[in-house]
Amino acid sequence: MITGFLALYIFMLAAFTGYEIISRVPVILHTPLMSGSNFVHGIVLVGAMVALGHARTSIEIAIGVVAVLLAAGNVAGGYVVTERMLEMFKTSKSEKSANK
């Protein structure tokens, strides 16, 4: 059971971690990184599955299905888009060394 203070500690440490990850990132990677963190919050799919999995009334099920649908879109789309962008950076690297 995560209670108040424990949650605060976890919030604080995770926030610090996120902050540290981003500081000192070059402008060139801003968009891929935004897209990557967009993918990471796709973990909401797990929560949506739990919400739908425990839903009983039909209104709960309806909203739960919407949640799962949206979250699944977030995960899949976030991954594909990020991967496509980063792929190009990889190309650049190998081509670069080839060109030099």
């Binding site: 059971m1 949650a7 968009t31 891929p32 929560g47 839903a55 879109g73 899949a76 888009v81 980063l86």
Partner: protein, 489 residues
């Protein structure tokens, strides 16, 4: 299906590993060298976390669940694969909005269940003790508060991101502005908070929420997201999307707390913090404050108040332009959104290589917000194979322009518009620009008299030392290549 009793421990362990992989992956994503691996690792963690969730005890509605996942994944996957690179920013907005909507929906389910359970408890207590135990039982004051806050920001992120998507996709050409808009928005926000707070207070006291208040709260939160985003201009959208990205992260973290799911808490919070910082960095790269982006009504049209530009557009043909550059000592190539549209980067690099062979010193000058997303030009030039050491940042190349013989502008407009320096009434006033106007000669490739993102005239095109090379970016670059080759032949 009965599951072994150690299953929840295994699920928790996988969640833990997933959280570690997310952090690890994001960290690697912050350097171009390791970025690709990073997303693959994070993706592995995500897949594992999703799969084990099916094995949690007491998961029902499996049919619905699998159906929704398959539909969501397949559609997003196809859209994400097919969409052109130029449309990436709106794709990020779309997928981010979906995440925010999911977080809000989770919160809604939990709140509704709380309500239903309480009603059942007070009216027909002994009938459904199980529902009461699973829901009403575990939502204390802290959980309820975070559920409400999560719904609010998740919903704002949802509708806000969709508007951002529509704007970048070109479905909503105009910003939607009216007098007293800020006050109206503020009123919507306050109304949402009040409805939510009243319902919350009832919940904390142990009463069910009034359904009306709850529904009003949901609706107002969704409306606020729309209202807040409508007046913001498309040029500012990347910053806004990044902000909504942080919002979604926070909403996920808060709903993760409600569901007591550590992986959601941590992943959400990491994204929340990372997104907040990224938003600030992006705003800084555009020389704006976040407040200015959100409330500044940037790019408010305002063509009326702008200064008139004197002079005429002086065309040049591709052969003359090629000769000019062939005999120059230093050439700077300034790409912009038009190069992305025309996919001209390969031809331009071919041209640049020919120049370099002739002994011309060629540099690429990149403005941080050229194109439609930060780093857009770098991505494209990297794709074409331009080595990094030929690419110069704005700050590095600006002092060099007076020594440059020919500046070749291809599809850039706003980022080289001297009006940003001179005209206080211009919507881009104050944005740092590339000092192309100071080069000895300027050649501008564009299709016609089309304006840039900010929709304003560009004094550079009318300057004495500027020549216009009309045509689609790729075609014009091709003609330049041909021009150079005939010169050698």
């Amino acid at each position: 299906m009965t599951l072994p009793s150690y299953m929840p421990t295994i699920v928790d362990a996988i969640y833990f590993i997933a959280a570690v992989l997310f952090i690890w992956g994001l960290k690697r994503m912050s350097s171009p060298r390791t970025a690709r691996r990073g997303i693959v690792w994070a993706g592995g963690g995500m897949a594992a976390a999703i799969i084990v969730t099916f094995f949690l005890p007491g998961i029902h509605n499996l049919g619905w669940m699998i159906g929704a996942i398959v539909v969501g994944v397949v559609i997003s996957w196809i859209v994400g694969r097919r969409v052109p690179m130029t449309a990436m920013p709106q794709m990020v907005a779309l997928f981010n909005g979906m995440g925010g909507g999911a977080a809000a929906a989770i919160g809604a389910v939990e709140l509704i269940r709380f309500n239903v359970a309480l009603k059942l408890v007070t009216t027909t207590l002994p009938v459904q003790p199980q529902a009461q135990a699973t829901a009403a039982g575990h939502l204390g004051a802290t959980e309820l508060t975070l559920a409400f806050v999560g719904v609010l920001i998740g919903a704002v992120s949802f509708t806000g991101s969709l508007i951002a998507f529509a704007k970048l996709q070109g479905w909503m050409d105009r910003r939607f502005v009216f007098p007293l808009q800020r006050w109206v928005n503020l009123a919507i926000f306050i109304a949402a908070v009040v409805c939510g707070a009243l319902a919350l207070a009832a919940g904390i006291e142990g009463h069910a929420f009034a359904w009306g208040l709850l529904i009003a709260f949901f609706a107002l939160a969704l409306v606020f997201g729309i209202a807040m985003t409508l007046p913001i201009g498309g040029a500012d959208m990347p910053v806004v999307i990044s902000m909504y990205n942080a919002f979604t992260g926070l909403a996920v973290a808060f709903e993760g707390f409600v569901l007591q799911n550590e992986a959601m808490i941590i992943a959400g919070m990491v994204v929340g913090a990372a997104g907040t910082l990224l938003t600030q960095l992006m705003a800084k790269a555009m020389n704006r404050s976040l407040g200015n982006v959100l409330f500044g009504n940037f790019g408010a049209g305002g063509g009326a108040a702008q200064q008139e530009i004197a002079g005429a557009l002086k065309p040049i043909d591709a052969n003359d332009a090629a000769v000019m550059m062939a005999y120059a000592e230093r050439v700077a190539i300034v790409p912009g959104y038009g190069m992305a549209v025309a996919q001209a980067q390969h031809k331009i690099w071919e041209f640049a290589k020919l120049l370099i062979e002739r002994g011309v010193k060629v540099k690429f000058a990149i403005h941080p917000v050229a194109g439609r997303m930060p780093g857009h030009m770098n991505v494209l030039l990297a794709e074409a194979g331009v080595p990094y050491d030929l690419i110069e940042d704005m700050d590095d190349i600006n002092p060099e322009f007076p020594n440059i013989d020919v500046a070749l502008v291809i599809g850039a407009n706003d980022v080289v518009n001297p009006v940003a320096r001179t005209d206080k009434n211009s919507p881009i006033y104050g944005m740092p620009i590339l000092d192309v106007a100071k080069a000895k000669n300027v050649i501008v490739i564009k299709r016609g008299r089309g304006k840039g993102f900010a929709g304003i005239e560009n004094a550079l095109f009318y300057a004495d030392n500027t020549r216009m090379l009309y045509g689609d970016g790729q075609a014009a670059a091709g003609e330049l290549v041909t021009g150079l080759k005939t010169l050698d032949a």
